[in-house]
Amino acid sequence: MKLIIAYVQPEKLTAVKQELYKREIFKISVTNALGCGQQKGYTEMYRGVDIEVNLLRKVRIEIAVNEDFIDSTIEAILVGAGTNTIGDGKIFVLPVEQCIRIRNRDTGSTAIG
């Protein structure tokens, strides 16, 4: 069992969801995130005055998967969010010790799948 966490550009969320859907991965959690990577930020304008925005708006995606779905999930995120430009984001893969479905107390792979 792995937890896949990805930070992607907000406008790429729909594309990522579509790619996941194509690979039959339907379970996903999404939160707004602010962050700063190599991209360093960009400039906005307000009444003619520059604003340095260094915390960029990103979307954080979390997907817990069983072993046989790890590669296809990563592939979906890479295809959906990748534009080969700085700021596309990152993917982290973490081991998961346990997973419990609250409704019926299923555990392990059953609970994830």
Binding site: P10, K12, L13, N32, E44, M45, Y46, R57
Partner: protein, 440 residues
């Protein structure tokens, strides 16, 4: 003899003073008439101007947060640019000396204007801006800002004034007896048809129509602020009392009370009609459809408002409310034309309906509709007006949008559209500090 002489003097005095008195009264009355007209028309103009705020709020509320600032800019600039061009050439084309009933040819830059003409210009410029701003809604969330500015100047300066001249400026339609009291056709249909041309040339927003195995599927792109949209509808309804009742063009014409009543009941019937239809069709009374229904009723009653009874107005408004729901569904699910706020349905379809309704429900001696024993005459003239204005606007704005598309480009790029026009076109955010960006 002496007494007779005295009597003559007395008679002369009486006659003389009363004649002088009569002249005074006449002058006094004219002055009062002038003052009342001036006050009423300027007040009504201010009410109609406030409708700009209503249009902006409706459009912002029914679209996504990432484009709100761009919509403010469009609504601010279509009035600002539109009023200057209406001053320069719009008024002249609409109300100048007629050239064969087709367009006006004098009073460019409203030259030689007195206060009366200033008053009339003020009342007309807010109508021209209303026609222009309708289009903004149908083209929301994907139009290049510079392209929008060009379009806006052309419709306020050229398209609207010329068809307006046919009907309100003493042109060929008005001499046929075409009746459009406050502008179902002159203002709303013109805006609605231009919106249709714009939405077709522009194409749908990204993600609006998805091609699946069984054909094209229409996806909802929900607006981000329903309270703002409803505030906009109430502002529009409020402003409509200036739009319709002000169109008596006189502060002493008591018809304004009739107009205010028919306007009110038609708008109410419109929102109830739309609510009922949406309740039956979608199982729940839909909020944004009911809001559109109120506007549909208002657009529908705009042409016939002065010549129908309250019962006629309720029927007209109710049918408009029904029409708007059916039309929004048809344009979205069948024609696959993306109109984020339903501008084509509200202003185009219901504008047509209101104009035809004059020929059906007209109940005065001058304008007698089919249902009140007037035969098909008036209805025919109304239909001719609807058709000719529709063809004129679709042709001119269609060409205009195509030319803009081929030259500077009508639409923003793929990435700009996804990131939102606030950031890509204006480099600013409308809701700085709020976390609402996953809705992109």
């Amino acid at each position: 003899m002496k007494i007779q002489k005295y009597a003559m003097v007395v008679v002369f005095l009486i006659v003389g003073t009363s004649m002088a008195f009569a002249a005074d009264v006449g002058e006094e009355l004219a002055l009062h008439q002038q003052a009342l007209d001036m006050i009423w028309l300027l007040l009504a103009a201010a009410l109609v101007f406030f409708m700009q705020a209503g249009f902006a709020m409706v459009e912002i509320g029914l679209t996504r947060a990432k484009n709100a600032g761009n919509i403010i800019m469009k609504n601010l600039m279509d009035f600002s640019a539109g009023s200057l061009v209406f001053w320069a050439i719009g008024w002249a084309l609409m109300y100048g000396t007629s050239f064969g009933g087709l367009f006006g040819t004098s009073q460019f830059f409203i030259q030689g204007a007195d206060t009366t003409l200033f008053r009339d210009w003020m009342f007309q410029v807010v109508f021209a801006a209303t026609a222009a701003t309708i289009v903004s809604g149908a083209m929301a969330e994907r139009t290049r800002f510079s392209a929008y500015l060009i379009y806006s100047v052309v419709i306020s300066g050229l398209v609207y004034p010329i068809s307006g001249h046919w009907i309100w400026g003493g042109g060929w339609l008005s001499s046929l007896g075409f009746h459009d009291f406050a502008g179902s056709t002159v203002v709303h249909s013109v805006g609605g048809w231009a919106a249709l041309a714009g939405a077709i040339v522009l194409g749908p927003r990204i993600g609006k129509y998805v091609v699946t195995g069984d054909g094209i599927m229409s996806k909802a792109i929900p607006g981000h602020n329903l309270p703002l949209a409803s505030l906009g509808v109430f502002i529009l309804w409020f402003g409509w009392y200036g739009f319709n009742a002000g169109s008596t063009l006189s502060g002493t014409d008591a018809t304004m009370a009739t107009v205010a009543v028919t306007t009110t009941v038609a708008a109410s019937a419109g929102s109830i009609g739309a609510m009922a239809v949406s309740w039956i069709k979608f199982k729940k009374p839909d909020v944004s459809m009911s809001l559109n229904g109120a506007l549909a009723g208002l657009v529908g009653i705009t042409a016939p408002t002065a010549v129908v009874t309250p019962i006629g107005a309720i029927i007209i408004g109710g049918i408009a409310g029904l029409l708007v729901v059916v039309s929004v569904e048809f344009i979205d699910k069948r024609l696959h034309i993306d109109d984020p706020v339903g501008a084509v349905s509200v202003h185009g379809v219901c504008g047509v309906w209101g104009t035809l309704a004059v020929g059906l429900f007209g109940a005065t001696d001058d304008i007698r509709g089919l249902f009140y024993g007037g035969g098909f005459g008036q209805l025919g003239v109304q239909a001719l007006g609807v058709l000719s204005v529709g063809v004129w606007v679709l042709l001119t704005t269609g060409v205009l949008f195509l030319v803009v598309k081929k030259t500077i480009g009508l639409r923003v790029g793929h990435h700009e559209e996804l990131a939102g026009l606030d950031l890509s076109e204006h480099s600013t955010e409308s809701y700085s500090g709020f976390q609402i960006f996953t809705t992109m």
